[in-house]
Symmetry: C2
Subunit: 215 residues, 2 copies
């Protein structure tokens, strides 16, 4: 049976979304046929406004409505701790986990197989941001904690995430900042909480051993 | 963390779709942030056009671009066999199964708990359609098969589907059509192909016994 074009169009758009196959795309589309026309219009507008009404924060590059995002303009957050993440969703996850520093959103990960090089993501902007902090901020003035800026590399622990972290770390070190002023750290790799040693894969387990801490 | 309004709007719309929870809605929305602006616009347009560019077929009430749908205007289909279904997706499923008759789409199911009565769905239109066929068509002219119109009640085998089928059957009978001209049938309920008698539920099994056929 030939499905009418306007219905097929929407099915095809849904199919392009992650985790949505042809059958689900069809179900969603036919479900929307029961939506009031006004709701479909507002849904459509939200899609358009997703990009037209948002921009990148001029400091951390996270998606925001204003020039500077909520996190970067919040004086209670520790701007000396910058978590480098690959996407905006990671900032939500870290916030939920209780992170009180600020972010730098790369909007991607270095992935040569998919033609994403270091220039395609916001690495240059991160280096500029650190340079600016390094030259402008007198760390002694920032409170009783005299340590410098901490760059926490919080990209995924996938192969691409690891190599992106390695690359960024190398680039920062090449800039020759004072090692006491710019500290680079990487999130710990180990067993997830509730994890079974018996079922853990070799690499995770060897990373968990390497990263062991004294108790 | 406060998520920007334009992003939240879209997340909320995705959450209203069946099978999409808060987490998936978030993932889909942030995925769309990487879409080109033009694609988001076209996606939005497709949502609006889903209703503005479609209408109900003037015969079977299926969703269509033209006044009469592809099935109803296809002369090779048997217009003496009308499958009554609850939604447009059911017509696609029956077509795939090889059904060569025509459809009548109710656009819903009688469901008193959700305030859907017989007037909310296209039952009246079905009765009018049968009346018209009964008075206009001389069955003897329709080919060598002299039997009348067959109304196949193909609603779901859920409680609501069964009671909708019962209600429609009662309404058709009350109209007093010639019993040889208007035959009412119900799709078979039994074990799905590949089904295990051991694991079948009692009701399915008792229906399968009731509906047994000689071989």
């Amino acid at each position: 049976m030939k499905i009418p074009r306007p219905i097929l169009n929407l099915i095809e758009y849904f199919e392009r979304l992650p985790g949505i196959g042809p059958k689900t795309a069809q179900r969603l589309t036919f479900f929307l046929l029961n939506f009031p026309k006004e709701d479909l219009e507002r849904f459509g507008e939200s899609l358009v406004e997703l990009k037209t009404k948002t921009r990148f924060c001029n400091i951390c590059k996270n998606v925001t409505e204003d020039d500077t995002c909520i996190v970067c303009s919040d004086p209670t957050r520790n701007e000396k701790q910058i978590a480098v993440v690959s996407g905006p969703m990671d900032t939500i996850a870290l916030d939920k986990a209780g992170f009180k520093g600020v972010y730098h959103v790369l909007h991607g990960i270095i992935d040569p197989l998919n033609n994403i090089g270091p220039e395609e993501i916001f690495i240059k902007e991160l280096l500029e941001r650190i340079t600016k902090l390094d030259s402008n901020v007198s760390f002694e003035d920032m409170g009783d904690d005299k340590s410098g800026v901490e760059i926490i590399l919080a990209t995924n622990t996938s192969m691409e995430g690891e190599s992106t972290a390695m690359y960024i770390s190398k680039m920062i070190k090449e800039r020759g900042f004072d090692a006491e002023k710019v500290i680079i750290t990487r999130i710990a790799r180990g067993l997830p909480v509730g994890g079974d040693i018996e079922y853990a894969d070799d690499i995770t387990l060897s990373r968990a051993l390497e990263g062991r801490t004294e108790i």
